[in-house]
């Protein structure tokens, strides 16, 4: 059937040789006008005929449902002529009634109504007394809906052969149409005989039953239906028949004549209209489907090819510096901690990390299968040096979604991921999900934090081993990453000092010398290994490169004597006037005995040379706090904070300077300013925590221990607990201080035990003080070379010499504790060491006040 959609499609235009007849539609089963005509099929646009698609003969188009048959007009016309002329020829040669009927059938069948009527007239004349011919003509007229003429033919037939069943049936049907039911019943009485269904069609009988029903003669209708049921038992399962019987049974007080309805699954799948062939595939349908399939196949093939030639590749830079990557001959620059997308065809590609200067690697882009391209959502990631941490996040959207599942990937230069819905793009906040289901999106993301932060992230998420593996991988690529190096050196030796030292040893031969790297190496070796060959090692380095300032500095660091150290540091400075570490070494020889004034120029020079290293500036600031006017320095620090408002170390120093200058009331403003500076970049919890820290620092620095105790009371955070402990110790509430729950590792800190010893000493509890000192010494013994040196000083039966004290290099605050302990342990040298402790006790952090009281007592 021609169809149009929004005026586009196929349509018949034109009607010629129209023929109509009233009859039952074979499709919808309703009485309607069936029309046949010649027409032309057009392809139409807005119902305007555009392309002719051929001439057609429409056969029996139902006026109700429009269902019809259609044949090619040319074939129809040819077949019509050939069949009719063939039948006519046969009739001319052998003019029997059968052949005459055949000619008339052909004429009617090919809609040659005029010729058929002419021929019918001939048949009436020639075979007027032939009952078979008359009966045929009767049925032919019924077929054409010409019931009056049909009736005449049936009557003619009955005149000749009143016994002829077909004629009686035809005449009866005519009478039923005319409402003469009793006459009709008499004509078809033979159909009510047992076994009639084996000889005749019982359609006329059913028609009579239906007519009785329409007239309200239900009893007679039921008699007929009962006979039909006896003859054709399967009719009892027919829906339409059952309906008719039930209608006539309504109001009758007799049991139903219908058999029990059988359930059949098949009936559910049978076409609703009897006689329809069901779903069939026609040639046009096949062409249409093929065209649609071809179009879709073409689209799919094109899309597949497009995917093949436009594979998603991402270059991820985990370095803090820009990386240059060559893919095939194309140069790409990728910014620090950023991602760059590109599209490459499938195949083998050469990738060259120009910045890293490593060997080229091959990137193989290949689909899992041809069809897999549509569904694999594959992404390839180039990770120069393997330093970027790539997270594969599975985000589930649901009413109660599970937490996001993140899988980190690091260490490889090439990755292939499947099923990535959001490669390096943010996932939506919400998605629409129907019916309470869930949806999972898979995102690739680069963790853009600094390597040291990533190290901490991995430490928390994946454990120490993974974090160390990551750190070592990054440090191999980026040995200058000091933050990561320090973090690594802090964590790795606690797990496996041998591995940590071996890893660091890998970098010792690199030139230029990585001073920080060597320092960490030296520290690990000195702390974790009793026997070291560090001196031999560095002497060998120096033999190879005797004027290397860094090596000279490093050699000085591990020298046993203060004099020896100074000699190497001086040599380093002489070898390279720009070697910050050399200056720092020289400064440290002075700082170890509290000679801040002497150390200050060296520290100033070192800080100048390494402006990017806050540690140098901080130690220089400390020297200045120890030596310069607090008010003036405070103003300088204020100026610096205007430039760097979120500088915590400077803020901390400013606070202690203001307190020293009795300008404590300005401290709140400083803390507020710091908070405001932090507001722009930090989360509120972090700001509150830092503000609390600074407040605690201010309270301790100003000696307001009661307030500090109050402030921290009930706060179980690590910082608050520490501050409460410090406040209690400073107030001499040692028993309460003991009960403060500090982290276990805090008690392993040797200076904690030593400080506790000093506190007990001040409290007059000598035995307890001794116990604490002893515990402190034991802890020092487990430390690095200088800590072990400090332990040795404390264990000596006699007070250590100035030279011996000077040869131990510790942080000033630690050294102040050491000096205070020596002062307490060796009363004979109390004067000298209390003086040293006072000089070294510069930072107003715990145990600043305790040491002050210890040294004041000595004096």
């Amino acid at each position: 059937m021609p169809t149009t959609y929004n005026g586009i499609g196929t349509h018949y235009y034109g009607k010629r040789k129209v023929e109509t007849r009233e009859n039952t539609c074979p499709h919808c089963g309703r009485e309607s006008t069936l029309t046949s005509y010649d027409t032309r099929l057009w392809f139409v646009v807005l119902f305007l005929p555009v392309i002719p698609l051929g001439r057609k003969r429409i056969i029996d188009q139902c006026s109700v449902c429009k269902y019809h048959y259609v044949v090619d007009l040319q074939k129809w016309a040819t077949a019509s002529q050939l069949e009719i002329s063939g039948a006519l020829e046969k009739f001319r040669n052998n003019p029997t009634p059968e052949n005459a009927i055949e000619v008339h059938k052909q004429l009617l069948g090919f809609h040659q109504t005029v010729r058929a009527d002419e021929f019918r007239q001939k048949l009436v004349n020639d075979y007027g007394t032939n009952a078979q011919v008359q009966t045929y003509l009767g049925y032919a007229m019924v077929h054409k809906g010409r019931f009056k003429e049909a009736r005449d033919h049936f009557e003619n037939a009955l005149k000749t052969r009143p016994d002829l069943p077909e004629a009686r049936i035809g005449a009866a049907m005519g009478r039923i149409r005319d409402g003469q039911l009793d006459e009709a019943a008499g004509l078809i009485d033979f159909l009510q005989k047992p076994g009639a269904a084996q000889l005749y069609s019982l359609e006329a009988l059913e028609m009579l039953g239906d007519a009785y029903q329409v007239k309200g003669r239900h009893s007679e209708a039921l008699d007929i239906y009962q006979h039909l049921l006896r003859e054709l038992p399967h009719a009892g399962q027919h829906k339409g028949f059952r309906k008719k019987v039930k209608k006539s049974e309504k109001g009758q007080r007799k049991p139903s004549i219908l058999p029990k309805k059988k359930f059949s699954w098949k009936s559910l799948f049978q076409p609703s209209t009897p006689g329809t062939p069901g779903l069939v595939l026609t040639r046009k349908g096949l062409i249409g489907i093929s065209a649609v399939v071809l179009v879709f196949a073409g689209i799919f093939v094109f899309q597949n090819h497009h995917i093949k030639t436009h594979r998603k590749v991402f270059v991820v830079n985990g370095f803090a510096v820009q990386q240059e990557v060559m893919v095939n001959a194309e140069k790409l620059r990728v910014g620090p901690h950023s991602v760059r997308a590109l599209e490459l065809p499938e195949g083998r590609h050469e990738v060259n990390f120009t910045t890293l200067k490593t060997s080229p690697i091959q990137l193989e882009i290949q689909a899992s299968s041809y069809f897999g391209r549509w569904f694999d959502d594959a992404v390839w990631v180039i990770n120069p040096g393997g330093t970027a941490l790539i997270l594969r996040n599975e985000i589930t959207y649901a009413a109660n979604p599970p937490p996001t599942r993140s899988t980190p990937f690091i260490g490889e230069s090439i990755y292939q991921f499947q099923g990535i819905t959001h490669p390096f793009t943010p996932v939506p906040e919400t998605v629409n999900i129907s019916g309470g289901g869930e949806r999972v999106l898979v995102q690739l993301d680069q963790e853009s934090a600094k390597p040291a932060d990533l190290f901490h992230y991995l430490l928390g998420q994946k454990g120490t081993n993974e974090a160390i593996r990551y750190a070592e991988h990054v440090l191999r690529q980026d040995s200058g990453n000091l933050a990561l190096l320090r973090t690594y050196a802090e964590v790795a030796p606690t797990l496996n000092p041998t591995q940590a030292s071996s890893f660091l040893a890998e970098g010792l031969n690199r030139r230029p010398v990585l001073t920080e790297w060597h320092r960490e190496y030296q520290d690990i070796v000195e702390q974790h290994f009793a026997e070291t060959n560090l001196v031999t090692l560095y002497d060998s380095f120096l033999r190879e490169d005797p004027t290397n300032a860094s090596l000279l500095y490093l050699r000085g660091r591990i020298d046993e004597s203060a004099g020896g150290k100074r000699k190497f540091f001086q040599a380093a400075v002489q070898a390279d006037q720009n070697n910050a570490f050399g200056f720092y070494g020289l400064a440290s020889t002075h700082m170890s005995v509290g000679e801040w004034q002497a150390a200050k120029p060296f520290l100033a020079r070192a800080a100048e040379l390494r402006k990017e290293d806050e540690a140098f500036r901080n130690i220089h600031d400390l020297a200045r706090i120890a030596t310069e006017n607090a008010n003036a320095l405070a103003e300088e620090f204020r100026l610096r904070l205007k430039e760097l408002p979120a500088d915590l170390f400077t803020t901390q120093n400013l606070l202690q300077l203001l307190i020293a200058a009795n300008r404590g009331e300005e401290c709140d403003e400083v803390i507020n300013n710091f908070q405001l500076a932090m507001d722009k970049q930090s989360p509120p919890e972090a700001i509150a925590e830092v503000a609390a820290y600074l407040t605690r620092h201010r309270l301790y620095a100003s000696g307001q221990f009661t307030e500090l105790e109050k402030l921290t009371s009930g706060n179980e955070s690590i910082g608050a607990t520490h501050s409460r402990y410090q406040a209690l110790v400073e107030q001499g509430k040692l028993g309460e201080a003991e009960s403060v729950k500090l982290p276990p590792e805090a008690k392993d800190y040797p200076y904690w035990s030593l400080t506790q010893g000093l506190a007990y000493h001040l409290a007059g509890n000598v035995p307890q003080a001794k116990t604490c000192f002893q515990r402190g010494v034991e802890a020092l013994k487990k430390g690095n070379k200088d800590q072990r040196g400090a332990a040795r000083l404390l264990m000596k039966p006699l007070p250590p010499s100035h030279e011996e004290f000077a040869s131990v290099f510790l942080r000033p605050a630690e050294k102040a504790i050491l000096a205070a302990c020596i002062q307490v342990q060796f009363p004979s040298a109390a004067g000298e060491f209390s003086s040293l402790a006072t000089k070294l006790n510069v930072e107003r952090t715990f145990p600043y006040h305790l040491i002050r009281r210890v040294t004041q007592n000595a004096r």
Binding site: T78, L199, T282
Partner: protein
């Protein structure tokens, strides 16, 4: 495949595998596998498509694909199951137990051992004059065979104990050779294809429908005769094998004697006993309850007819469509033909095996079996009884309508035909003769008369059938079937071959001839019209009546089949050749001519500039085709 080709193929197979039944069996099994592949390949396509859709659904995470795949798979599996589902109904009969007929089971045990046949699971007493074994798989395609032995009570009544032993040995030989299994798979394949044909191939084809049904039909037409040729040869070979084994155990003479008795009485039972029983249906609404007693009595009668029927049975020949060899060949293979010819010069009483094997249970079993038959045939009996009433009413109506008037051919034939249906051939014969006397060319009367005569082995029937065919060619296939059976019974192989050739020719000519006449095109070869002067003039006169006719050309399509039935092609040029819109004029002219021109054959009249313009140009150029020019 034509009948002759089938015959030749069967002959070749018979010769090729003579004495090598194992190779033939293997070949039949391979063909059966091919048949199953042909039957099920498109289900595999459907299932593959379903699997692909499922994969797409999984890969693309589109549930609709999965649902579609499941529906497709369910439909495919459902269709497969419905096609392959073959329900083997249990035999209609009475299952026998060893306790009630110990003698029979003792004989059976003895024969099983001798035949080295596996144990028969169930034994049934059935109402047919026959014995058979069935092997039915318990688990469908997985096998685990159940063996059933079916023994007809009439057979036990007819044969002596020794003869029956030979028959049972023959059936057990089939079991030991696993012939029934091959038969079972062949049967399943046949039923599968039947289901497939009913469900798919026999469905009316919609206009312009595209389906693989034509391909499948072609495959079926190619496969089935080739498979059948092999399977039928195997069946006959198996019969010889089973006969030989049975003869070795029970004696060749006993087996031969059993075959003779069964052959003779089968014919008698089919032609006389059962028609007699069913004739009772017109008077009685219930089937008789003693049919087994009656058949037993029937065997005691007709001794004088035995010898002529035996002789006729020996005349029968085997054709390649038979599952069993003819009696003569089987007796010859057993080497007992001459002995039995002498032995059965008169009917030799058998001394009935029923008494010996069924013992005291005989009467009760006979009664039970009669009841079973009564129950099984009651529906068909009722229908037959009701049909009898209707037919009787029809006869009465015919007599009432024209008691005294001279009857026309139609009413005479109606009465004869109705009588034939109601009372059978004997009663209808005078009426048919009456029709033929009045109307000697009456096709159906000739056909019916011919059929009756051939069933009585009267060769006059041949002529009547030929007369019927000449009057109505559509009666040819049915007539050939009757003739084929007649010649086979007479052992007339020459006539059988001629008949095959005739059927083949008819099939080819009928189908191809129809196809040839369905269409015309410019590629058709042409012939001069060949009309006589007067005929041509008549045509020209009518053409001259068409005002706008510019020219007319007449030729004939060259036909390969039935060339005597001519097909004329009349091409007309209407209207001014420089005017494009002449279609209406052309149609009007053709419509005018169609009703008037009479050509001695089929005719196609078309316009020179119409859609058949290429054919028109070809006719225009054909020498002597121009019959009018203005």
């Amino acid at each position: 495949m034509t009948h002759q080709e089938f015959e030749a193929l069967a002959g070749r197979i018979d010769a090729k595998f003579a004495g090598n039944s194992r190779a033939l069996r293997l070949r039949v099994l391979l063909w059966a596998i091919l048949g199953y592949i042909g039957l099920l390949w498109w289900f595999c396509v459907v299932l593959t498509l379903a699997a692909f859709m499922w994969w797409v659904g999984i890969a693309a995470e589109v549930v609709a694909f999965n649902v579609f795949a499941l529906v497709l798979a369910a439909w495919g599996i459902g269709s497969t199951v419905s096609t392959l589902w073959v329900r083997i109904a249990p035999p209609v009969g009475r299952e026998l137990r060893a306790q009630e007929v110990p003698a029979l089971f003792k004989e059976l045990m003895d024969l099983q051992q001798k035949c080295r046949a596996p144990k028969v699971d169930r034994v049934y007493l059935v109402p047919e004059l026959n014995a058979a074994v069935q092997e039915v798989p318990r688990l469908g395609p997985l096998g685990v065979w159940r063996k059933r032995l079916l023994l007809g009570l009439p057979l036990l009544d007819l044969l002596s104990l020794q003869e029956l032993r030979a028959v049972i040995a023959h059936e057990l030989a089939h079991v030991s050779r696993a012939d029934a299994r091959v038969g079972h798979w062949t049967y399943r394949l046949r039923r599968g294809w039947e289901t497939f044909i009913i469900q798919y191939l026999a469905r009316p084809k919609a206009a312009d429908e595209v389906s693989l049904r034509d391909v499948t039909r072609k495959f079926l037409n190619w496969f089935w005769p080739r498979f059948n040729a092999r399977a039928l040869v195997l069946c006959r070979t198996a019969e010889y094998g089973a006969d030989a084994q049975a003869a070795a155990i029970a004696g060749a003479e006993n087996l031969g004697s059993a075959l003779v008795r069964t052959a003779v009485y089968s014919r008698q039972v089919e032609e006389k006993f059962w028609p007699g029983i069913w004739q009772e249906a017109k008077d009685s609404s219930q089937p008789p309850g003693d049919v087994m007693d009656r058949i037993s009595c029937f065997f005691s009668t007709g001794a004088d007819e035995f010898q002529p029927i035996f002789s006729k049975c020996l005349m029968e020949v085997t054709t390649n469509t038979d599952t069993h060899p003819c009696l003569k060949q089987r007796l010859a293979a057993l080497g007992v033909e001459d002995i039995l010819r002498n032995k059965f010069s008169t009917l030799v009483p058998s001394g009935r095996a029923a008494g010996a094997l069924l013992g005291a249970a005989q009467d009760s079993l006979r009664s039970e079996l009669s009841s079973i038959w009564k129950q099984e045939s009651s529906t068909a009996w009722q229908l037959r009884h009701q049909l009898g009433i209707s037919l009787q009413h029809r006869i009465e109506q015919l007599q009432e309508a024209m008691p005294s008037r001279e009857r026309d051919a139609d009413s005479l034939w109606d009465k004869a035909h109705t009588t034939l249906q109601l009372h059978g051939e004997k009663a209808a014969l005078p009426l048919i003769k009456e029709v033929l006397e009045a109307h000697p060319a009456h096709a159906l009367a000739n056909f019916s008369m011919g059929r009756i005569l051939l069933s009585e082995d009267d060769p006059e029937g041949e002529e009547l059938l030929e007369r019927a065919i000449s009057k109505d060619e559509t009666l040819l296939p049915a007539s050939c079937d009757l003739l084929f059976d007649f010649y086979r019974r007479r052992g007339d192989t020459a006539q059988l071959n001629a008949l095959r050739a005739r059927l083949d020719e008819y099939d080819v000519r009928f189908e191809a001839g129809q196809k040839e006449r369905q269409s015309v095109s410019a590629s058709d070869a042409l012939l001069p019209h060949g009309l006589a002067e007067a005929e041509l003039k008549a045509v020209q006169r009518i053409l001259g009546e068409v005002e706008d006719l510019r020219g007319a050309w007449l030729a004939r399509k060259k036909l390969t089949y039935f060339p005597e039935k001519k097909l004329f092609l009349l091409c007309v040029e209407v209207g001014n050749r420089w005017v494009l819109t002449v279609e209406d004029l052309e149609q009007e002219a053709i419509g005018f001519l169609l009703g008037r021109i009479e050509l001695p054959g089929q005719a196609l009249i078309f316009a020179l500039r119409g859609e058949q313009r290429r054919l028109g140009k070809k006719i225009k150029k054909f020498p002597g085709s121009s019959i009018l020019k203005r």
